[in-house]
């Protein structure tokens, strides 16, 4: 291998000139954004209570300088508000999926970006699920299972989710001996 002409060995080591992979085509239902905002508001409110109570308790029962405690609580709170304000839109923007004949293709994540490919023949079964908040927004998630765990497409309209579920169930029918 090493003795081969330079032109070939360059091909082995240097980055190939291939065009890069395209991201999966489909987006989630746009209502996902609103739903996640609502979830963030609820979460932030809970955080406010927890952080507030903890801070009050620390100030009341310990000798730690209250200015530090208030500063720490403020930092946590501001961070969670900012995170809550930004993350739903970003999460929505970066969530993509595509159900191809041979594979389910998922891509998500803002900072840690994940691309995941699951062969249809590995999928054992498919669920649709609706949490209370999802029901409010007419959304549904599709969860599918392989022998190595489960994966989720988190927010599709209920009709579309049922379609996606049925399509995956249909395509996953190739028998696979395990």
């Amino acid at each position: 291998m090493i003795q081969e002409p330079a032109a070939n060995s360059v091909n082995l080591t240097a980055p190939s000139p291939d065009p890069r992979l395209l991201p999966p085509r489909e987006h989630l239902d746009p209502r996902a954004r609103t739903m996640w905002y609502v979830a963030e508001v609820i979460q932030t409110a809970i955080w406010l209570v927890i952080v507030g109570v903890t801070a009050a308790a620390v100030i009341r029962f310990t000798s730690i300088d209250s200015r530090w405690v208030i500063l720490a609580a403020a930092v946590i709170f501001v961070f969670s508000i900012v995170e809550g304000a930004i993350s739903p839109a970003l999460r929505y923007r970066y969530w993509r999926y595509e159900i191809r004949d041979d594979e389910v293709d998922l891509q998500h994540g803002v900072l840690m970006k994940t691309r995941q490919l699951v062969p249809m023949s590995r999928i054992q079964h498919v669920d649709t699920r609706r949490g209370p908040l999802q029901q409010r927004f007419g959304l549904s998630s599709v969860v599918f299972f392989t022998a190595a765990g489960s994966m989720e497409i988190p927010a599709l309209s209920q009709v579309h989710a049922a379609d996606v579920r049925n399509r995956i169930a249909e395509l996953a029918k190739v028998h696979d001996d395990l």
Binding site: Q116, H125, A148, N166, K173
Partner: protein, 547 residues
């Protein structure tokens, strides 16, 4: 077609298509059983409290009667609503279960995916003459991988089982494995009959010499050192005080400043640890035997705690060749397998050989699981790009530096230690950096002819041998720093109860990662199809076909 159906076996054509199939509800016994299950946790304590408090007669204690009544109504109500929402449907292609009060769930299992259909009756269910039908889809996922249709009348349950099995058989065009057709009250699990095969022919046995080598080179030295250290630490408590005080400790304390003595003590400690590790290895793996009987591997080992495992060969998902730090230079490795679970059996990872010369690995694999037999050092092993090296070195040493920093901070702030003493620990950092460099150097992967080889190092060097069709998914992950350098982390997993996390390799070149993901599956859309590179022809797609 419908006319020729026999009495007990339902043909597929009798089953309605999914849009016409009706949703059925469970037997009303569901409500009673569910309510009793809901109450199971608290009914006894509450009854005791209610009775004892109620008997005492004071008016305030009627509270307990009220409380008990309310809780019972709640339990029955919850069970009623659950029953109301609980619907199942058998169509001509799948079985669907709808359930859930607050969080609604709909689960579909296509007939081809059905691995087993079990019937069961708990005592409560027997009382109401109903049964539970459990439809399983195979390995992994646990409760998630199954549908449980609760509270069916016995006749309906038996009928449903034969329907599902017949449908599955029809779809697969194969014979239903014998154990699935076994009578329902047959208590023998599928695996027990396999054990009855008796001893297979011996493939490998471990000699005393090899056992000693295995012990001497095992990574257990670390754990054993901890035990030896603890022994010295708590020696004071273990040895009678009188004796302890009589030992020349003052002399030791004076001499401890003498580096030679300290080094000597460490040496003795190490030696003790080493001996302990040899003994534990001998006890664990003494009498090791690997046998093969038909489609089964039988592994037996252990002097005190005798273990015996039977592994169906076709359940093996991956082989790991583990080369410990002390073994690699001498060309020895430990061989392990990852196996998928089946039915009630959990997936497992186990030992195929505790110590094997590396040159014998391929022949052992050919004898035991030929699917995974492959050259351990393929010439086409792909490597990481040079720019990954720095990251491996940094990530291996950064933890140590931070730890020393914190220790130095504590030493400086709270203890009377000189800071330079803590900081001198930083001198060890190059050892960690060296590990990082080794991790970079050892990392690699190889795809050929349906075979996938992945190699990495933690402390030991691990080479995983698996088949492309065993991989459950492929994942490329990148954080912002990796994206700036066009690097990705590759992850994949096989069906094994033991290793849901699967295997991962950080810092592949971005394009290499994409090509790898395609080699392990099918081609993916790229920016411009016309410039798509000719990929090596792999029989990968064939693997997705019917088996």
């Amino acid at each position: 077609m419908a006319g020729e159906s026999q009495s007990s076996v339902t043909t597929l054509s009798e089953l309605p298509p999914s849009d016409a199939a009706e949703w059925r509800q469970a037997h009303w016994a569901f409500i009673v059983i569910g309510a009793l299950r809901n109450m199971r946790g608290w009914i006894v304590p509450l009854a005791i409290v209610a009775v004892t408090q109620g008997i005492s007669g004071s008016r305030a204690d009627y509270f307990w009667y009220g409380f008990a009544a309310l809780a019972t109504v709640g339990a029955v109500g919850a069970s009623l609503v659950e029953w109301w929402m609980y619907r199942y449907r058998v169509s001509n292609r799948d079985i669907t279960l709808k359930s859930g009060i607050i969080s609604k769930q709909e689960r579909v299992i296509p007939f081809e995916r059905i691995q087993s259909v079990d019937l069961s009756e708990a005592p409560l269910e027997r009382l109401f003459k109903v049964m539970k039908v459990k439809v399983e889809t195979g390995a992994g996922g646990g409760a998630e991988a199954e549908i449980q249709v609760r509270a069916l009348k016995r006749d309906d349950a038996v009928k449903m089982r034969s329907q599902l099995l017949a449908a599955r058989q029809r779809f697969l065009g194969e014979h239903v494995p014998a154990h699935q057709g076994a009578p329902i009250d047959d208590p023998t699990p599928a695996v027990a009959s396999l054990d009855a095969l008796g001893d297979g022919h011996l493939i490998r046995k471990i000699s005393t010499k090899e056992l000693l080598i295995a012990g001497a080179s095992s990574g257990r030295v670390g754990a054993a050192a901890a035990i030896a250290g603890a022994f010295v630490q708590f020696g004071q408590d273990l040895i009678p005080r009188r004796l302890w005080e009589r030992l020349p400790w003052d002399g030791f304390a004076d001499a401890a400043s003498n580096v030679q003595i300290v080094a000597g003590l460490v040496g003795i400690l190490g030696l003790i640890a080493w001996l302990i590790s040899i003994v534990t290895t001998v006890l664990t793996f003494g009498g090791f035997e690997l046998r093969r009987a038909g489609d089964q591997l039988q592994v037996r080992y252990g002097l005190l705690d005798r273990r015996r495992t039977t592994i169906p060969i076709r359940r093996i998902q991956a082989i790991r060749v583990v080369e410990g730090l002390l073994r690699q230079p001498f060309g020895y490795a430990e061989i392990r397998f990852d196996s998928a679970g089946f039915g009630a059996d959990q997936g497992a990872s186990g030992v195929l050989s505790p110590l094997l010369p590396k040159r014998d690995v391929v022949s052992l694999l050919i004898e035991t699981c030929p699917d995974f037999a492959a050259e351990l050092e393929p010439s086409g092993l792909r490597r990481l790009p040079t720019r990954a090296r720095r990251r491996y070195i940094v990530s291996a040493s950064v933890g140590w530096v931070i730890m020393v920093g914190i220790a130095a901070g504590i030493a400086w702030r709270f203890l009377d230690y000189p800071v330079w003493w803590a900081l001198s620990l930083l001198l060890v950092t190059p050892v960690f950096a060296l590990f990082g460099a080794m991790r970079y150097r050892d990392a690699g992967w190889f795809v050929d002819d349906g075979m996938f080889i992945l190699r990495w190092r933690g402390v030991s060097r691990v080479t995983v041998l698996t088949r492309v069709r065993r991989l459950q998914h492929r994942r490329l992950q990148s954080d912002p720093f990796q994206r700036r350098a066009d690097l990705v982390t590759f992850r994949t997993a096989v069906a094994s109860g033991g290793s849901l996390e699967g295997f991962s390799l950080p810092h592949l070149d971005g394009r290499d990662g994409e090509v790898l993901v395609e080699q392990l599956g099918g081609a993916l859309p790229r920016a411009t199809a016309s410039r798509r590179r000719q990929r090596p022809a792999l029989p990968v797609d064939v693997d997705f076909g019917l088996t």
